[in-house]
Symmetry: C2
């Protein structure tokens, strides 16, 4: 099943025993950034507290309750299963919460690898409650890339990375917020699980069949509200990441960006888990720009650095070093806020861009 709610959701988040841990990263992202409010969290181990008591950097007083029944008084529309349970398989008490939610008529939004809409127990419960299930990882059918992205009217800004998990989604979200606060009509384009839960829509490009990944991305940037003047596309992976670079390239070609922001984690020197080297800013800029040059030319216009592992002094040095190496604006958009960086790049956004009419590819190779 796909996203069936077009109006605002009110989320209750399922995270029994784990809401305070790193395993709940997706849930924390939803509380921090989602356009839809989180009205309660289910975690019996923190029953009676508020979100901000448990995760200090989240500015939310949503109550933490013991079970789905206790959450209903806060009038949620949707149960969000954003946390993979330890060990992988869905424990019996999680199943019970999901079934109870569906029977109560709540939509269930799941980012689990297991497809809930293929589970007969959940399907039956959804039928009883006249409720729907949205497995956000399951991509819709989309066509092969055809070049329609080359004629998209809003300005398209894609974040690209030095590695996976460096902060590309967060940078895209912070820039979306800054653009909105500066009076623009931006839209955040979600390309991964957490981003989709935050935006309430999107496609997990890493789950699309390889041949269709650029086309799925093209579908995302060609579908936007008419008043939108800039699309901030969430990047994925890194161009020299042996496992995830194909997804990175699908986004670089499929979203047909008008500008790139390069995102790096200053504490990282090796590609996560593989041990191959992280490229320098100059090498990354050169590689991304050369790949795009004959498809749709694009420039890196700024460097966003995740300095969360550094002291204030170290962070300032890392930002200055990036500016000196590249001659581009650089900043940590979480540590120092997005506005200085946004204002530094703003004159290059919204420029009248050359539109290009794409030709149509044959339906198959």
């Amino acid at each position: 099943m796909t996203n069936t709610m077009s109006n605002t959701r009110r989320y209750v988040i399922l995270a029994p025993g784990v809401f305070s841990t790193r395993a709940s990263k997706t849930a924390h992202g939803v509380v921090a950034y989602a356009k839809d409010p989180t009205v309660a969290v289910i975690d019996p181990s923190q029953d009676g507290k508020e979100v901000r008591d448990v995760v200090s950097y989240l500015d939310s007083n949503a109550p933490i309750v013991a079970n789905i029944e206790a959450s209903l008084r806060y009038k949620p529309t949707s149960l969000l299963v954003g946390v993979a349970p330890p060990g992988g398989a869905l424990p019996a008490d999680w199943r019970r919460e999901i079934i109870t939610a569906l029977e109560a008529g709540l939509e269930v939004v799941s980012g689990l690898h297991d497809v809930l809409a293929e589970d007969p127990d959940f399907v039956a419960a959804a039928k009883r409650g006249n409720a729907s299930i949205w497995d956000v990882r399951v991509p819709p059918k989309t066509p092969i890339f055809s070049g329609t992205a080359w004629a998209v009217k809003p300005f398209v800004l894609l974040t690209v990375g030095s590695d996976c998990s460096v902060g590309k989604m967060t940078v895209s979200l912070e820039l979306t917020r800054a653009a909105k606060d500066r009076g623009r009509n931006p839209e955040f384009i979600a390309t991964g699980q957490t981003g989709i839960m935050i935006a309430g829509k999107g496609i997990a490009i890493d789950r699309v069949i390889a041949d269709f990944a650029p086309g799925a991305t093209e579908t995302l940037v060609t579908t936007h509200a008419p008043e939108t003047d800039i699309l901030f596309v969430e990047g994925q992976g890194g161009i020299n990441h042996a496992a995830y670079a194909p997804v990175t390239l699908a986004l670089l070609y499929g979203s047909a960006p008008d500008a790139l922001i390069l995102v790096h984690n200053a504490a990282r020197t090796e590609i996560d888990g593989l041990g191959t080297p992280i490229l320098s800013y100059s090498e990354l800029i050169n590689l991304y720009e050369r790949l795009a040059a004959t498809v749709k030319p694009v420039k890196v216009i700024g460097i966003a650095i995740n300095t969360s592992a550094l002291s204030d002094m170290e962070a300032k040095h890392a930002i200055q070093a990036a500016q000196e190496e590249t001659g581009l604006p650089a900043d940590d958009l979480v540590r120092f806020g997005p506005y200085a960086f946004y204002d530094a790049i703003a004159q290059q956004l919204y420029e009248k861009k050359p539109l290009r009419k794409g030709k149509t590819l044959p339906p198959t190779l």
Copy 2:
């Protein structure tokens, strides 16, 4: 279902009304290159002729017959459906042939988009005949890329292209043949539909979920006979092809090649169907080598040119121009045979290569 036959197949090819046309390209490739013989072709419009009467460049006297019943005297083990029927959907007379073949106990090998093993009529017929169905496009489950490809013992040679459909599979097959004739133990690694039918095994990388495409490629190069001393990996797409480049990159990283052969069609100046420019040899070499440089360094060691659209004189000029631009051996391996080119690059193959132990990636992002 997957490939269930480990012994030699004897193919009867289903191509009613279309065996003489370009639509039967896959079938022609199987007749020309497959390790398994084609013992008959079904095409009532050519009944009574031999394959070489209908497709002049195929050196095969296999008979063309009217239907599956008439083919049985040639003792086929497998019906090969290598041709997409005009219009897409499977016509009734094709369905009848497939059902009759399954009831007669023949394996059915299909390269169609439609998954035959999900069709209740075919499943029932297979049960009645105790026969199997192999949908070659459906990939098996494979893990995320982990770096085990970096420790593969045989030399790995990957073909990379200036575009899709330029002849990468053919070049890999011709080099496999030359290496065998020179006394080596090569293996052709199939990564697309036609290649899989020719090799009798392989994975259609373009049909793998994007996140798993490098890992599927890694599985292919880490699974080979112990005596194999070189793997010729069939390339896909082109690195600046907006629709198919993610698959190209999955092969470049996933197969961890020790050398690359760049393949180009001399008549091509634009990316097929998209109208963006084809890169020069120098630019392509630079891009492929730079992408691989920090993952596993590799060099382009030769240029294979498809000159089928050129005169003899033009072909020689095109080959000479490629040699002068790149300083590398260049040739058309179909027009002039694979041996001169193979001998020119042979000293760089089979060199003792540095093995590198990969680390293991976490199972999910």
